[in-house]
Symmetry: C2
Subunit: 220 residues, 2 copies
DNA sequence: AGATAGATTTTAGCTAGACTAATTTTTGAT
DNA sequence: ATCAAAAATTAGTCTAGCTAAAATCTATCT
């Protein structure tokens, strides 16, 4: 059986793997807000099911079947987010929590119907790529806004979808995927940075800038 | 906590109560496809939570809070069914299974958005009334098609939503809520009956006729 | 190499929700 | 009124999750 819990774990493992390369038990537990013991227990079961490989004390990796399932759940999540914004008119700060629940109950048929109604979108409202049904997801070069250098102009590609307050904050300032900004100043030592968008300067704290992925001119 | 299981039990209790008046433990177990012992166990918990009252050996009844929750779940179910048909173009035989899953994950906000998009519908695609948010549901006189007498003309009010094959069967013959039919013949002894719709005679087995609720001329 | 901090795993025990088998209560038929 | 059948309950078990606390391993620093 493929329970909600299994799906949540695989999704979380995929996301941690993307972000940090290695997936430590503790990182997974932190991510899922559960104890490390629970994580270890489930990791064992996932390994028995052949969905992850696990070297004790060395962390965990998705197998190909596990990756397939993770990407399917992520596809559901991002399609639902897109649907809620495009077809139902919700604001982008509210759709993550809904999608967390819907992703587990979406049939393949309805998934396809949504996809079709939306015109086979490639990205969700936060700029995250939507995996194909076959489990393909584009590899595109991205850097964090906080890694940009002063003076360069970059285009916002993606923002974190799970912090509603931050999404409202960004929305109020017109910082959406597709918007170009020029980095006018960066404070050293984890300090804030300033970007210019259409003649207005906007100061952003470092943690916010960490949540924004951008692309350089000419990049896909 | 209000789990999926609790919601499913309350909904089932409500539906059995509607159909049969008394809710026997065995009827509930049958309805939910679980053992009678499991039903007894959960009934105890529901009673502790104050959602049902339980006289051992006498069956179970929803309390007012329990009824409120049951009607909320049913409202979700029927709104989702309506949404899937009206807004997403699914056929009426496919929506029950989806709604069984969605009813448990629908937020109040999204419920209201759906309701609004659909123009505050009062009935779902199968003709079942949609409870209001306050837990109100209309009391309307209905009889089973199998209880009609030969010669009378009745209007189809509602059909069972949980048998996909039967819904396709009825759909193919144009038997939807709102359609008027004349009962031309009824076989005794649980036999089939014949209805006439727009100059065509349609023969229906007794079990099918049991699943169709009709209203007499002049009734709401 | 040894010490030790931090990560990981193990152990023990809890809860929800299901099950079977055995028992008790109610009902219905003679 | 009795007694068998049906219905409901109790008792005990199972699995999937979880937590907290204890034990163990790894890696790093001197």
């Amino acid at each position: 059986m493929q329970t909600k819990a299994v799906e949540d774990y695989l999704k979380a493992i995929y996301e941690v793997q993307e972000r940090e390369g290695r997936v430590a038990t503790s990182a997974l537990a932190e991510r899922l807000q559960i104890s490390a013991a629970s994580a270890t227990g489930m990791i064992k079961k996932l390994a028995e099911m052949g969905l992850v490989s696990h070297e004790p004390y060395q962390g965990v990796r998705l197998t190909e079947p596990g990756r397939k399932i993770a990407l399917e759940v992520i596809r559901h999540h991002r399609l639902v987010e897109t649907y809620l914004v495009e077809a139902m008119g919700l604001t982008w700060d509210k759709v993550h929590d809904e999608a967390e629940k819907w992703e587990h109950v979406l049939s393949e048929e309805l998934e396809d119907r949504m996809d079709e109604m939306l015109g086979r979108p490639t990205h969700d409202p936060h700029g995250a790529p939507i995996p194909t049904r076959e489990g393909h997801i584009p590899e595109t070069p991205r850097l964090k806004l906080s890694e940009a250098v002063a003076g360069e102009t970059v285009t916002i590609a993606q923002v974190a979808d799970d912090d509603a307050a931050m999404l409202r904050y960004l929305g109020e300032r017109g910082l959406y995927p597709g918007v170009a900004v020029t980095v006018t100043h960066i404070e050293p030592f984890e300090g804030p940075l300033t970007v210019r968008r259409e003649d207005r300067d906007i100061s952003l704290g470092r943690p916010v800038a960490e949540c924004i992925k951008v692309r350089r001119p000419g990049e896909a």
